[in-house]
Symmetry: C3
Subunit: 464 residues, 3 copies
């Protein structure tokens, strides 16, 4: 059996002097509380605090990073319990037998971190250790110390945001607030389902929005008013932000009459693909205007080609690892929104891209000029050691640090949250140490910035 | 005279600890046999085993990397014996006088490696040493030890693939198989000349394809059957792969009737540029379907704007260094093919790009999901130390190592083959050593991966 | 108060051996004269040699890098004396209070360098030191030693080019030539105002061009002749180059009749956006043809989306930090020009991009083939330590060093000129040292190349 204990110097620079400095910086931020302003944990975990069932259900089946890698090497979805029933221990053994595929990927760093720090498992996961892992994890999960709220406390989380449909009743959030548990869980207003005409069930969703708010969502103004009311409800429940997942970064600022006509087309179900794109684009500007009034911080996650394989989508559903990044035009796309409200000091708009080529060419120049813009951390495929370093190297020289929004883990994998913040802090300390050793920053500045990057910038950007 | 002896630590990391580790890893793979699954050596070399004539004909005139650099600095094509007769010694002297231009390029590393390891020349090539080099090389070439088959044996090549027109009779391959030489030379099915309506002589090529196979290539089904038969011939001659050189990554999966109509248009010579693109796109999907049946591994080299200078093309012909990379849309382009056959475990499709921006954004996410996809090594302009490092840094975190196809040298420059594999092994060991020193891989894993990258992955991907 | 003395090893590599070598290389180029073949200093400085007024007018208000960063963090333009009158000391204090924003940006390295080496100020600029800085700088500026010509001499500038409208009378250049000051200031022919139909006042500018040259600029041929005459005037005044600032890299080579018709449309004011783009494209090829005859080196700065915020443009004017890079298609764009004159040894065309993705994919392959092409240094947002390293790493392996045009500072910030050349020399020595330590270059080669990169290549490319 191979020892896989995490090395305390992992991810630090290779040069000894720089490594020493990175290690010193990291020690000052390693145990700071976790600020998690964007992610996809299940509100039911926080509201109902259920026990997780087994290692396969916790680590394999819901993790699209893991599933896609196994599928890419010929493992059928069915062997992973997707699209067919499967014995969870068998799923786990399949995973373990292929765990070598994750060598040099961030997934392995996250998984190893969770195995070790959450479950005390320090051997390498292989065929030979699969059952030990499965049993150890399963036994732990049956105990109170491994329920979601206990993990929240143990992980030293200060605040965590969930991502919630605009139509969600936020009942689990209410349960948390009514409980005597002290964890802080806030919702995020994600209106895609009733903003994107291409979303499944869009028309029905708009009707529901009307019913929930008592607004006449058959008219453009009534529809906008419904969003305003719903946002107010989310704010009352603790939300500080909205989130928008769009295929492109297109925005529009149409004259009232055109916007009304567009709304009529998309809600009558007569929308072309172009209409749908235009409506999403217009709604980003409308949401930005609402933010001027109600103060919600706006997030835009743009550029994912969802469900690239229609076969996989049909047979196995969404979020199975077949969402592929697309080129994104931020400069042209954001123009209308920025010209409408981009200089208003009340707006914060945080941008997330899957197109790294835009870091230095588009995003840093935009965020380094417009007062409303902040850059979110490296997203999804780029939330990795090399991806994070590329981000800092391409963004910082033009936008500095203050125009970035700190780290967020963006995950539905609860046990990976500490691992992800640990990775981000290590890479940021690596970057800062390199700046110090090349005499671009002083040690004092680096120390202050390490703390900002570990949580301060996130708190500030999300008004948490 | 300047000593230019290759340093044993070349291309290794600068940090001493990491360098030591890279060196140790490299020692385990340095002398492994060369697996060369894709390249452009002349089959006649292997069939007829002729003597090469002189240094200029061997190293300068056919090497478009060399020619373009000299031309870019004002050397006329004619002075290099292209478009005019030139004394080979004079060509060589011109080359030598400009050899300083290659400082810090991979070409110099390849050339110096060949000069030293093949011909024992360890001085720097300059004006002053030009004649010594020319004479030494010329004398060697006249001896049996420098004929192609002897070099194959000396280079420790395990298998080499040539790239052959679908219309080629593979006579040289037959000669090799009939000989008592033990070298393994396999052909590759490259059907561009009768798949791409924009190819010179396309219509005649389709006719020839019909004649060679006894199929009626005036009909869509007959044309497809002809490819099937021709592929079977190549398989019988040892081929394990096809190769497709397309300007874009576009694929299509048209209904039968539309495909038939398209075929009729392009073979009647009435094809628009759009038709040509559509036909190439459709044929990639057809070839993928044939691979499901006959098992040939499919390669796609997409994104070269061939003959960017029409002047150069007209006056001096193809492959003169004026093929320039183009942006490539892999996500949109491959959609139809992948939706048709992308989940079939019988297919392997190896992708080569000239657009590095797609590594992290498109190719690694695609290859990290679809079971059929593998990523070929950095191609052409990116087959260089920095290019290889960028590839590993951008691809590995999402796709791992198993979704890559190992190295291939892709060269028509026989003497550079060992140099190119040497370079790839050094850079891969550098990358692996950095992963170990930053505690992302264990030493044991790195040692195993070094061997995979040096040949194992190529053997597996190409079923060699 | 924090000491902010520049460290002599700043920007050098972290590995000690590589650092030592970089330092040794840098010592051989540190004090070489500055060759500044492209920039935006005010010709009036050289002609009239006025005193600068105060620190805010010198360092803050005209520097769009500085202004945009302050604006991006909520400082109103008005507080910086833009769009409203402001007390310069108050502007300076605002700047000082936000100076921490520039941590890890090139602006801070430039500013600190100027504060220290020009004004002897070695503390960190903060709230607390703001007034000391303001007073010290103000007192110095009132003395003869801080007038432009004295700074030119002190900075060890060998030659500096200004960038001048084709309509400029070059009176300040005449004054310099008539004076007994020995500084060399040359103009550059920048005809955008009478080449770009979208330029404010284009029609009037074309009329002025006619009046200045005595040519009939209402006809296509007369208009071209006017450019020829105006270029001759610039040459007589010392110019060696033209410069073209275009939104894209599009070029055209239209037949005479089409070009004439296009000219008629754009000068009648009936031009569509497409016509304007076509005319700019055609004029690049015309200018290249003129260069064949008169020898002016051609520069193309393509890919800036000027005035992205129309609000900022309307309220505060041009050059306020809201020019954002755009994707640029060099391969398609330059085709027509290169096919017309790209192989002519009399042409030099220097390319500048804001789209780094084109370095390895398009620009290095083009410059590594066409004899006329040279690559300008990293431009604008990419004129930074990381930007320069990326440039060398992506360009050199394909294009070598000889196809690059050395460094130029491209600045209107006089006091930053030594800082910018210092930065470029440090980064180039870092790159060269890494090449030596990884045994890709010999030490002798690196030493020779360091000198080339520090000035030799610029002198040669610009025929200075």
């Amino acid at each position: 059996m191979t020892d896989a204990t995490l090395h305390p110097d992992r991810l630090f620079p290779t040069d000894p002097t720089t490594r020493r400095l990175a290690r010193d910086l990291f020690q000052t931020v390693e145990t700071l509380p976790i600020v998690s302003p964007h992610g996809h944990t299940d509100p039911a975990w926080w509201g109902e605090n259920p026990a997780f069932t087994n290692a396969a259900d916790l680590f394999v089946i819901p993790d699209h990073y893991v599933v896609r890698m196994l599928v890419s090497q010929g493992v059928p979805f069915e062997a992973l319990g997707i699209g067919a029933k499967a014995d969870p221990r068998a799923v786990w053994r399949t995973f373990a037998a292929h765990y070598h595929l994750f060598a040099a990927t961030p997934s392995r760093l996250w998984l190893d971190h969770a195995f070790q720090t959450v479950f005390g498992l320090t051997q390498r996961l292989t065929d030979a250790t699969a059952d030990t892992f499965y049993d150890t994890i399963g036994e732990a999960l049956a105990t109170p110390a491994f329920r979601p709220r206990a993990l929240y406390d143990r992980f030293n989380i200060e605040v965590i945001a969930t991502t919630d449909s605009a139509l969600d009743d936020l009942a689990h959030h209410q349960t948390v607030q009514d409980s005597d548990w002290t964890g802080r869980v806030v919702p995020t207003y994600r209106p895609d389902a009733c903003v994107d005409p291409a979303f499944e069930g869009f028309a029905a969703n708009v009707d529901t929005l009307g019913a929930l708010t008592g607004c006449d969502t058959t008219t453009w103004q009534g529809y906008l008013e419904a969003h305003r009311k719903r946002r107010a409800y989310f704010i009352a429940m603790g939300a500080t932000a909205t989130d928008h997942g769009h295929p492109t970064a297109a925005t529009l600022d149409l004259p009232e009459a055109e916007a009304t006509a567009l709304f009529d087309r998309v809600t009558r179900g007569a929308a072309s693909a172009q209409d749908a794109e235009a409506f999403r684009a217009q709604m980003l500007t409308e949401m930005a205007r609402m933010s001027l009034d109600d103060g919600l911080v706006m997030q835009l996650h743009a550029g994912s080609s969802r469900n690239h394989s229609t076969q996989v989508h049909r047979a196995y559903g969404r979020d199975r690892g077949f969402d592929i990044p697309a080129r994104t035009d931020w400069v042209g796309g954001l123009g209308p929104l920025l010209n409408a409200v981009g200089l208003d000091p009340r707006l914060t708009l945080i941008l997330f891209t899957l197109d790294e080529t835009t870091y230095a060419r588009e995003l840093a120049p935009l965020a380094g000029a417009y007062p409303c813009l902040k850059l979110g951390p490296p997203w999804w495929f780029h939330d990795s050691p090399e991806g994070m370093l590329r981000y800092r190297e391409r963004v910082t020289e033009t936008a500095g640090f203050a125009n970035t929004a700190g780290f967020n883990d963006d995950t539905r994998a609860l046990c990976s949250i500490p691992a992800r913040h640990d990775m981000a802090r290590r890479v940021d300390c690596t970057f800062l140490a390199q700046q110090v050793v090349t005499h671009r920053l002083s040690e004092e500045e680096a120390a202050r910035l390490a703390i900002d990057l570990a949580g301060g910038l996130a708190r500030k950007a999300y008004t948490l």
